[in-house]
């Protein structure tokens, strides 16, 4: 059952990721990315990490992609014309193959821990985040994000 669901959503994630890069209409690309993120969230859930699964949807699919769509719709971006450059395509293909080869080597070489043995419940994640090795980094990151937020508002409103 879990295996079937995993393959269904893994396929969905890959297919929608292809839509993201393959579509000429940016709106479809954005919706494709949303589907990818939701499929990934399902996979996190299947791996026994409901907390990460929920955050994946809340943060990426729910908040960030809405802003993407907003910009696309407000600016009224038109579908792109397809690039016909032959050399560019060849370079892209070569780079993609290199990347795939690298990933293959790394994945085959690594020893894979069974995912289900990890305790990734909300409580476990919170204990790791809010205890010694990660606490300061975590808090520092939150201050960094806040500073970035305030900074971007100041920059955007300088004339007002």
């Amino acid at each position: 059952m879990t295996a079937i669901l995993f393959y269904v959503f893994a396929a969905l994630a890959v297919a929608s990721a292809l839509v993201v890069v393959g579509q000429r209409n940016p709106i479809y690309s954005a919706f494709g990315l949303i589907v990818t993120l939701c499929s990934l969230s399902v996979i996190f859930g299947l791996l026994g990490s409901p907390f990460i699964a929920a955050l994946q949807v809340v943060v990426y699919a729910g908040a960030i992609m809405v802003l993407f769509l907003f910009v696309i719709m407000l600016l009224g971006v038109k579908p792109e014309d397809r690039e016909s450059g032959g050399t560019l395509k060849a370079v892209a293909l070569a780079l993609a193959l290199a990347l795939a080869a690298e990933m293959g080597v790394v994945l085959l070489g690594a020893d894979q821990p069974p995912a289900s043995s990890l305790d990734a419940s909300t409580r476990a994640v919170a204990h790791v985040l809010f205890s010694a090795p990660y606490l300061y980094a975590f808090e520092a990151t939150s201050i960094l994000i806040l500073a970035a937020l305030v900074g971007s508002i100041v920059l955007a409103r300088r004339d007002a």
């Binding site: 409901p50 907390f51 929920a54 769509l69 719709m73 419940s121 909300t122």
Partner: protein
């Protein structure tokens, strides 16, 4: 023949889904009628009272009418997204209710009518008792925004686009306040599971969260009203400015689906409010038994409140709405979190406010 344990689980789950689905559809159609009747009474009118006794068959008549109307799509509309938007709206609306419990764990009685494996079986009155129930709810409601953006954009109409953008801006602004208003409740219960949150409120109505979390409750009330686009926050369909907002170009069953999604969202918000702030299925007085009936009574009271609100308040202006959300609700909710965190950290259990 006894089904295997997996099959048993599956059968129970399917029955639960069907029951919740049927109950929601019924409640939705009753709500469309009840809202019109109650609003009419508040305005010294009668409302729909011709179809069946006291007009109760009006939703059926509306349904038949909508079924037989022609489906129209504007010429420049994006066909795929135009069709997908109402489907997505209904999908997310129904998905959210899956984690909302309407009762605790019950033990099925040993009646002869039930198959043997069901007798004495313990069943949770909730479709999915997730460890991260509240976060799931938050995630699904944030996906609901896309149906509105999609509907507004796909129809290729300036009014629907503006309505859709406005709507989504409003929804994700107030989603923030909505999420923050839950944090106090989560901290008091120490869990994301809605079952745990309800259980933490046991012991009479003075233990319910709306007493200790009065600020959180106030923020929830306002943010939830805005989140489901109800008056006084129904700007997405401000007819004086935007014709009918994002669903201007929709007709027939697609329009009905969008309406259904809106009402189901309202029911979800009412049910979540009853669970988080009014003790769900717990009885208000300690000597009365707990029962799902309490939950339904609280939920219906909340739904009546939404209708009452619509009959009472005028619509806000758009800039007032955004300013209120960001400058009042979000700081208030954050302050509530700070105070609640201090109380949880420093006041030992058993003292006042714990």
């Amino acid at each position: 023949m006894t089904p295997s344990p997996v099959q048993q689980e599956l059968i129970v789950a399917v029955v639960k889904v069907l029951v919740a689905f049927g109950a929601l559809l019924t409640l939705f159609s009753v709500m469309t009628w009840a809202e019109r009747r109650l609003l009419a009474f508040m305005q010294f009118r009668l409302g729909p009272n011709r179809t069946g006794p006291i007009g109760i068959l009006q939703p059926v008549a509306d349904g038949i009418k909508l079924f037989f109307k022609e489906e129209v799509a504007p010429a420049g509309a994006n066909k795929w997204l135009f069709v997908a938007a109402p489907a997505l709206a209904v999908f997310t609306a129904f998905l959210a209710i899956a984690v909302v419990p309407y009762g605790g764990t019950i033990t099925l009685p040993r009646w002869g009518l039930l198959p043997g494996w069901l007798q004495g079986r313990e069943v949770v009155l909730q479709i999915a008792d997730l460890d991260v129930g509240i976060l799931f709810l938050f995630a699904v409601s944030s996906l609901g925004v896309y149906s509105i953006v999609m509907a507004g954009w796909a129809a290729n109409n300036k009014y629907t686009l503006l309505g859709g953008l406005r709507s989504s801006a409003q929804m994700f602004s107030y989603e923030l306040a909505l999420g923050l208003s839950w944090v106090g409740v989560i901290m008091l219960a120490g869990s994301f599971r809605i079952q745990d949150i309800v259980a933490a409120q046991a012991g009479g109505f003075w233990h319910w969260n709306f007493v200790q979390q009065v600020v959180g409750f106030a923020v929830y009330l306002v943010a939830a009203t805005a989140e489901v686009n109800r008056t006084p926050f129904d700007l997405p369909e401000a007819e004086t400015e935007l014709v009918a907002g994002f669903h201007t170009e929709y007709s027939s069953m697609r329009f009905a689906l969008l309406q259904m999604a809106e009402y189901v969202n309202m029911i979800t918000v009412a049910a979540v409010g009853a669970n988080l702030f009014f003790g769900g299925w717990l009885s208000p007085l300690p000597f009365l038994p707990d029962s799902p009936l309490w939950f339904f009574a609280k939920m219906l009271a909340a739904l009546f409140f939404f209708i009452w609100l619509r009959g009472t308040l005028p619509r806000l202006r758009y800039d007032q709405l955004m300013a209120f959300g960001w400058k009042v609700l979000v700081p208030l909710a954050t302050l509530n979190i700070l105070v609640t965190a201090a109380v949880v950290a420093f006041v030992p259990p058993g003292w006042p406010f714990r």
